[in-house]
């Protein structure tokens, strides 16, 4: 198999003991950002502002699959219809024929848009500059929530000119306090009485920030105009003439007023025809373009330094954030590393190892992300984050697709992240992320649509992962591990809960069996179970990641599979769980075996088969110490005998 790349032991801490609910969302953010730097194509994102039982897309008929056009309005004399001959996704597109300049189409008012807020600062409120580009705003009134990260703060009327402007909110600190990016901010305590002295205030506005993703094919340019909520349309970008080839475009806007629900209008630059293959509006939880720094000019300097070639200058605001980086030349450079110090634009990284040293390399794809319980909470999660999801297409030649959506309630009940995938670039609904049954996916006869779950505690017909649960006194850190390869053949995910009792685990992709085509694609994750349990175990409990996976038969239909175990003797004895299981007595070496991939175990499709994986994932004795490395650190035991090929580096 191809060269491996890892996320090696990202600590996900939670000083407020929110780990009682697991550092679940943080771990999903680690996966998201690592796939981004790995070059996977993001094909879908949604927020949770419409909750789990609704189409998450803020655009009515955003998937353009309704037969009619009742949720669209022709603009200025254009002709609109649904078309079934030129389609990007599903079975329809929206066809807009403009006979002249300035014609087009307009969406209905968007669904469930968050409204802006505004206030005038008062006594006790303050701006405090940071040692980096981020400043802090403190308010005496509780105004903020995790969901505001990525939104904008508009400040005017401040007597200190450098404090005025529009700035992205970069971090949620508390209901009274946020960080925002303004390197020119100056210390300012506000005052609004009693008088005298004279008032010293500023006008603050908090503007919700949204992304627009649209697939369009057109022979003339169309402007994209958005009503920011005040009834006035503003051009946020242009879809150029693209020869009638469906192409993805992304725009953004903020809502400055709540008078309208921000409909979107497409306006022609000349007579021509526009096909809209789908349009999705969401408030980004994962990509957060205003917050997450990114580039392709990363420089790693031996042994643990990171900088850029000029696209971005890290500063003290980045201390505590996590660098995600991908190095196709030096695979051991790839990973996610906490930034422990920044000096003169150079980050010092925590390699989480006593032996690791990075190899100097430049031209690397990178992202710097605030991965913590404040931006990605474990408890008290607002809907926007709680039901947020993303979808990727792998860089693998198959183009296999991986989707997830959070489904974690505020408490313990019904917690999980719903997972679904397809073994190739199967078409999916632009709004919901569900795969159409026109191609193979876990949703083609194996899995029902997650979005229809009326009660998220029931977890019917779905794969998910859940992970840490237990409330720990004195330790609040879980540890996140990922492995993939340079070809994007698979994703292996593991979240150790600190005690080893409730680890999260899932595994997807082409795992190296010799079955032809999509028959060698697997998804291993819990199935229809959300109970509190260690997912990384290998018995027949439905909460185990290994017991009720999904793969494909020769007809492209999803069928069950599992990871087979080795038995001995005539009782229920097992190899990996022998009470005295140990190393080889003659050498002290560990034994491991590749995963046994067993599909169609119930012979549903008459295609039962055993395959042995060669993707670098193994099982060994279950009583090895959790998170221990062996064989010159070329293998990592995660828990309960689950072993990954490893980078040759020790763990902390």
């Amino acid at each position: 198999m191809a060269t491996k790349h890892w996320v090696r032991d990202v600590p996900l801490s939670d000083p407020n003991n929110y780990i009682a609910n697991g550092n679940h969302m943080q771990a999903n953010a680690v996966l998201y950002n690592f796939l981004k730097v790995a070059g996977w194509e993001q094909v879908w994102e949604c927020d949770g502002e419409r909750t789990q039982i609704e189409d998450p897309n803020h655009v009515p008929d955003g998937d353009v699959q309704d037969p009619g056009t009742s949720q669209w309005t022709a603009y200025n004399g254009a002709t609109i219809s649904k078309d079934t001959t030129k389609v990007h996704s599903g079975v329809r597109s929206l066809k807009v024929v403009a006979s002249a300049l300035s014609q087009g189409v307009e969406t209905d008012p968007l669904h469930s848009m968050r409204d802006p807020s505004a206030w005038v600062t008062g006594s006790g409120d303050s701006i405090v500059p940071g040692s980096g580009r981020d400043a802090t705003y403190n308010d005496s009134i509780t105004r903020f929530d995790n969901l505001h990260v990525g939104d904008y703060l508009d400040i005017s009327g401040d007597s200190i000119p450098g404090n005025n402007g529009t700035f992205p909110i970069t971090k949620f600190l508390s209901a009274n306090s946020i960080s925002f990016e303004n390197p020119s901010a100056a210390l300012h305590g506000y005052y609004d009485g009693p008088f005298p002295p004279p008032p010293d205030t500023a006008s603050f506005k908090l503007w919700p920030y949204y992304q627009i993703v649209v697939w369009a094919a057109t022979d003339v340019a169309f402007d994209v105009d958005v009503d920011f909520g005040d009834g006035t349309y503003n051009t946020v970008g242009t879809i150029p003439a693209n020869g009638g080839v469906f192409t993805r475009y992304q725009f953004d806007f903020w809502r400055i007023s709540s008078l309208t629900e921000s409909p979107i209008r497409f306006v022609s630059a000349a007579a021509g025809t526009l096909y809209i293959g789908g349009i999705h509006v969401f408030s980004s939880v994962w990509d957060m373009p205003t917050v997450i720094k990114r580039g392709t000019d990363g420089i790693i300097t031996n042994p643990d330094q990171f900088s850029t070639a000029g696209s971005f200058t890290p500063d003290a605001s980045d201390i505590g954030k996590t660098l995600f980086v991908w190095d196709g030349t030096n695979n051991k450079n790839s990973g996610a590393y906490p930034i422990t110090a920044v000096a003169a634009g150079v980050c010092t990284l925590d390699l989480r190892s006593g032996s690791a040293a990075l190899t100097s390399q430049s031209g690397l794809r990178w992202r710097i992300v605030q991965i913590d319980h404040l931006n990605y909470p474990a408890s008290g999660i607002p809907d926007k984050l709680q039901w947020a999801g993303f979808g990727f297409e792998s860089i693998h030649t198959s183009g296999w697709r991986f989707f997830m959506r959070q489904s974690q309630e505020n408490g313990q009940t019904g917690k999980g992240t719903i997972l679904w995938s397809a073994p190739e670039d199967t078409d999916f609904n632009f709004s919901t992320g569900e795969f159409y049954k026109s191609g193979p996916s876990v949703q083609r006869y194996r899995q029902g649509p997650w979005i229809k779950i009326p009660d998220s505690a029931s977890a019917q017909d779905e794969h998910l992962w859940r992970g840490p649960y237990t409330y720990f006194i004195g330790t609040t850190t879980s540890r996140c591990f990922l492995m993939t390869d340079e070809d994007g053949a698979f994703i292996a995910f593991f979240l150790h809960d600190g005690s080893g009792s409730n680890n999260g685990c899932h595994l997807h992709g082409y795992l190296g069996s010799t079955l032809p085509g999509i028959q060698s694609h697997y998804l291993f994750a819990r199935w229809e179970q959300r109970g509190v349990a260690n997912e990384c175990y290998f018995d027949d409990n439905g909460n185990r990641f290994a017991h009720n996976g999904t793969t494909y038969d020769s007809h492209g239909l999803a069928i069950p599979c599992l990871i087979g175990q080795l038995g001995i003797g005539t009782s229920d004895a097992d190899v990996t769980t022998q009470a005295n299981a140990g190393t080889n007595p003659w050498s002290g070496n560990e034994w491991k075996r590749p995963l046994i991939l067993w599909r169609d175990r119930e012979m549903i499709q008459q295609e039962a088969a055993l395959q042995v994986s060669d993707c670098g994932i193994y099982q060994g004795r279950a009583n090895m110490v959790d998170l221990s490395t062996f064989d010159s650190e070329n293998f990592l035991h995660l828990s309960n005998g689950f072993i990954w090929e490893w980078s040759g580096e020790t763990l902390v």
Binding site: D539, W586, S587, M603
Partner: protein, 367 residues
Amino acid sequence: MTVWVRNLRVPDVTTQGGSALLIAIRELLRVARWTEQSNDGDPDWPDPGSPNWVVGPTDLSVDPLSPRVITSSSSPFTSAMVGDMIALLATNDQNRSMWRITGFIDANNIEVDAQGFNPFNWTLESGITGRVVKVASPLTAATAQALWNAPGGSNLQARIFYSAADASICYARPKGQVPLANETSGITFTDSTDYKHVMHMIASDENVLIYWSTEDNNLKIVMWGKLLDADAADTDPNFILGSNSPTSDPLWGYTMRMLDGADTDIATYPTFVKKNLSSNTGGAFFNYFNSRLANDRSALLRSPWVCLADVATVGACVRGRIPILAQTYQDYERLRPLDAAGAWLHTYQGVAVPRNGPDDPLPMIPA
């Protein structure tokens, strides 16, 4: 370097079937290029002077122009030898085997059993030593034994012993000439009422697989060998594997024997695939209907890992894989060829053995 013996019909006996079996196993080990370290001097071991010894010519030759015919220039053969067994200790592996003599042509030519003949005919060879033996007189119970050395510099030794209960007991000494304490437990074959044996052998290097049917039993197996894929630092990962009854002691659920990390006998288990931890053998792959097909609709064959019994420090580890044999779905019909290429044959209860091509004679069942 594989030596094959197929359908060696041991002369029928009317008493002491265990003795007949042990005499046959001793001859088969010789064909497998094992050498005798010593024996107890029992007068009935088929060596010159024994009532079970017939003749031992050294000028035998074979010619592909005369399939199944063994030729001598010293007139060693008589018509009375029909029904006896002949071993050819040939250099060429296709010639090296053992058969029942089925035809007397003349004093210089005999014919061997077609059911045991190799599918590729003779390879021209002369100057071959042969051994013609029979089982007319039983060994001495409770004392007859022999110790054999595996070929190729291996330390592995096999001890075969004829018990007072008319049973054949096979032992291994994985580290060679060591005190008796370093011998494995024996595997007992209770053949006292089995008077008809059809023997088969596949031998390669120090690995020798012998399996047979009797008029009462579908399949019995004994195998001495060295594990595949053992740790490089593992000294002498040699074993004995066997089953007296495929019904009550299915091979893949039965114990084999090795020496542990302290050179003490330890039970060792072939592994099998099952659905999940803690399920019993009822859910085992080899006992699981739904696993009868694999991959391209051919039988799945796996070389089983073996695991030492759950003994702290010196055991409880996976040590290597069983050579020669393969594990497959246990409910395949008995003696079913598993592939068009003739590479594998299912014997019984999920035990698959190599087959020497599609024309290799299938095992016979003694009536």
